[in-house]
């Protein structure tokens, strides 16, 4: 018996559940380096775009820590206009469905991105990044407050007919409260979770190692935190969930499906293994076959429910 990996996130049908996490893949640069990562993904999630071009945070931007890594990248991107004119057509030409991640510093930034991208071909959904911990305003400040989250999602809902995925932070007391706010605002799906804020100290200088002082923790240490958020949000609302945080194997993906996710994203573990999505997909298929539970869509109903 071979496993059926097909799944869906709301109305969006996918051939398998594995995609990339926003900000952890430039599919065009990967191609230029000889790596056809895009072909391994159910869909491509772009790096977050903001209304105006950003250079990002000062170096160093990355620090390896026990159980993972910290990043303080700071959303470098060419800005909405250049993204729509150049990055989007070139990425679309790869032939994969796209989820465009949008970020901002005030509500109107998200609304503008939704209006600008609304008529574009090839976009399967917009992912609202209200959880980046590496910018001084907006993003995580919005996604830490239920009322702010609801308001920004509602504004976006009115600005586009595209499905809205909302990517939430684990840096809140109760992710479920934010999830319910996103649902009230009109979200179509949740992405759980972004990174956890962390600090690394340089042993030589005893100063913060990252140029941005703090950074977002990703990798294996994030996985149990993200799993708990998936479980909490699944119980709290009816939105489909895309699980992300420390996924590096078929087992990790299966854990997220069991906790209530409909699909998964791989991020920092793909830095050392560009075709990780293929291995996760293949291992997941094997695990499902071994367990006699051969459909991805059946996993959550045969476990926690």
């Amino acid at each position: 018996v071979s496993a059926d990996l097909s799944t869906s996130v709301g109305a969006l049908a996918l051939p398998h559940p594995v995609m990339n996490a926003s900000g952890t893949l430039d599919a065009l640069a990967a191609r230029a380096a000889g790596l056809a990562v895009d072909a391994e993904l159910a869909l491509l999630v772009t790096k977050t775009v903001t209304p105006l071009a950003r250079d990002g945070n000062p170096a160093p931007r990355v620090a390896e820590v026990a159980g993972g890594m910290l990043n303080s990248i700071g959303l470098p991107n060419p800005g909405l206009e250049a993204f729509a004119a150049m990055v989007l057509p070139a990425t679309r030409a790869l032939g994969r469905p796209l989820v465009v991640s949008i970020g901002g510093f005030e509500h109107a930034d998200y609304e503008l991105a939704c209006r600008t991208l609304d008529g574009e071909q090839g976009i399967a959904a917009l992912e609202l990044n209200v959880s980046c911990p590496n910018v001084k305003s907006g993003c995580i400040s919005i996604g830490s407050e239920p009322a702010e989250t609801e308001a920004v999602v509602r504004l976006c809902r009115a600005a586009t007919g595209l499905p809205l995925w909302v990517k939430l932070s684990p840096n809140v007391a109760d992710p479920a409260e934010i999830a319910r706010a996103a649902e009230r605002g009109g979200a179509d799906a949740l992405v759980l979770t972004n990174t956890l804020r962390g600090l690394a100290i340089d042993h030589r200088t005893l100063l913060p190692l990252l140029g941005g002082v703090t950074g977002g923790l990703s990798g294996p240490a994030l996985k149990p935190v993200a799993l708990a958020a998936v479980l909490a949000c699944r119980a709290a609302c009816d939105l489909p969930i895309v699980g992300v945080g420390g996924i590096a194997s078929g087992w990790d993906a299966l854990e997220f499906l069991a906790a209530g996710a409909s699909a998964v994203q791989v991020g920092s573990a793909a830095f050392r293994e560009p075709l990780l999505a293929r291995r996760v997909r293949e291992e997941l298929a094997t695990l499902l076959e071994e367990r006699g539970s051969v459909r991805v869509s059946a996993v959550k109903t045969t476990t926690l429910d």
């Binding site: 990355v62 470098p76 050392r272």
Partner: protein
């Protein structure tokens, strides 16, 4: 992603020369690989440029500063290898009288380039005689090694007049100063830069460097870039 194994590991001054079985292409001079010893349980690989290769092996020079490179410095260690990645030196554009300029540990990057440009002299600066042993990797026949507190820029000045191109690798301050001096002299310059890097293939945006006043990914734009793209140090 390919697997390899550490075939040999020998000290060279304060550094270690790590020879890997050649299960992957060594790349052009100045390109880099991402190496991850399997015994190391951290998340990330480490970017390193090959300094030599033969039919059976590819050699890297390392400076052990933590558990990842410690795990790499063991004969028999299994290693995951990605790459080669990035833009290396363009030896074809070096002209009739190229000049190699290096500093410290980074001089090792000039070793494979020196094999392509055997007539190019080497000018290199080191903190002490032990560190200067890294220059043994570079086969250049004509060589001038400057030890601290000597200044490589003083030694560079008289050599620039006759040079067709400067090809530089080493500490950030040194290569930026060399690029600035070459620019003043009107000599084309290629410079290898370094930056902390999580992926090597453009995905993570960690390896930001300032080129022409903008932060860009070194793995995409470099690691070897035209000297005139650097702001003066």
């Amino acid at each position: 992603l390919t697997r390899s194994r550490v075939a040999a590991c020998e000290p060279l001054g304060p550094y270690l020369r790590v020879r890997l079985e050649r299960t992957f292409p060594p790349g052009e001079p100045g390109q880099f690989h991402m190496l991850r010893p399997l015994a190391y349980d951290g998340l990330l690989a480490r970017p390193l440029s090959a300094v030599a290769s033969d039919e059976a092996s590819v050699t890297f020079l390392i400076q052990v500063r933590g558990p990842a490179l410690e795990a790499l410095a063991r004969v028999g260690a299994e290693v995951e290898v990605l790459g080669p990645f990035g833009h290396g030196f363009d030896a074809g554009a070096a002209g009739a009288a190229p000049l190699l300029v290096g500093g410290g540990f980074g001089v090792a990057l000039l070793a494979p380039l020196s094999r392509l440009l055997p007539a190019a002299p080497l000018l290199a600066a080191f903190r002490d005689a032990e560190a200067a042993r890294a220059a043994e990797l570079v086969p250049a026949a004509e060589r001038e090694l400057v030890l601290a507190p000597g200044n490589v820029l003083d030694a560079l000045a008289p050599r620039l007049a006759g040079a067709s191109c400067v090809l530089a690798a080493g500490p950030d301050g040194l290569v930026r100063a060399v690029a600035a001096a070459a620019a003043v002299a009107g000599v084309p310059c290629q410079v290898a830069l370094e930056a902390p890097m999580a992926c090597g293939y453009g995905a993570c945006y960690s390896c930001a460097v300032s080129l022409e006043g903008k932060l860009v990914r070194l793995c995409v734009e470099g690691p070897v870039v035209a000297g005139d793209r650097l702001a003066p140090a």
